[in-house]
Amino acid sequence: MTVVQTETEIPLEGFVGEVFKQLGDAVLEVHQCEARRGIVRIDPRRTVEVAKKMMAMQGSRLATATGIEVRDGIDVLYHWAFEPAGAVVTLKVLARRPELEVDSIADVVFAGNWIEREMHDLLGANFRSHPDMRRLILDDSWPEGVYPLRKDFDQVEDRPPLPPTQSSPDVATDGREGK
């Protein structure tokens, strides 16, 4: 079943439609606009501006974000939830290859902080002017530049080797020197 829909075919109605209208021409393409769910693609240059608008709306909160590897780069999906309307509005931003870079919204809404760090860890998306881009999800010995959620990463074949273990119990640092 393939239904190709262009932006003009989807009428902006109901609560979700109102939210989209407020975003104005930052919206590039409307994928879905139903009673409680909406998906749009927005202009990557205006991510921060849109996030500020969303944050100012009544009852909004950033539920989470999803990163997906697509042909042209990485799609970053910000899921905004609205209470008590019970709607989830998904804003898609494309981070184009080869830089894979979009603006960070962590300064606008703190909930974006951790999830952007996670997407950086797992997919290699880069977030411009993120306040604290340290490693969050992967372990300390994981090599830089290996992104497990990319489609070309095979979870069994491409596993990085484990660091060597300390073999002798005698060299154990027991963290209790002194006292």
Binding site: D139, D140, P148, F153, Q155, T165, S168, P169, A172, D174
Partner: protein, 146 residues
């Protein structure tokens, strides 16, 4: 050594390590402490430091990040000690075998630092508290033979 083993037969103290578990096994381990299962009948209590412990109750798959810490905790534990590998994950990584963030399985991770470690496996996802009690009692029996 004989004196140590004699002392170890009664009142095993347990230190619980979550090396990447989903908390299923962990709540069942805590369940052992509480009135219905009450493992203190056998002189076992949970302690807050591996240095006081005779038994390491390890749950979870042992992720890459947790593995060096698990080995560290094992080295800190007073010897001789027994390792209880609780649940399918700690036994053989369970359904997470293929996932990318795995370290060595719990038994291999511990044998890497001490080849003579005593490991008792408690299968199940999660094992019922009854089978954990069974394992603990078997562990005590095992220590008597050493």
């Amino acid at each position: 050594m004989a004196l140590k083993m004699w002392a170890l037969r009664k009142s095993l103290w347990v230190y619980h390590v979550n090396a990447g578990a989903c908390n299923n096994c962990d709540i069942e381990v805590l369940e052992l402490l509480t009135p219905r299962y009450d493992i203190e009948r056998f002189g076992m209590i949970l302690v807050g430091s591996p240095r006081h412990a005779d038994v390491l109750a390890v749950t979870g798959v042992c992720t890459r990040q947790a593995m060096p810490r698990l080995q560290e905790v094992y080295m800190q534990t007073a010897k001789p000690c027994v390792v209880l590998a609780i649940g399918a994950c700690a036994n053989a990584q369970g359904i997470f075998t293929e996932a990318y963030h795995m370290g060595l399985p719990v038994d291999e991770a511990i044998k890497a630092v001490d080849p003579n470690a005593i490991i008792i496996y408690v299968p199940g996802c999660p094992p019922k508290p009854e089978s954990m009690i069974d394992a603990a009692v078997k562990g005590m029996e095992l220590l008597k033979t050493l």
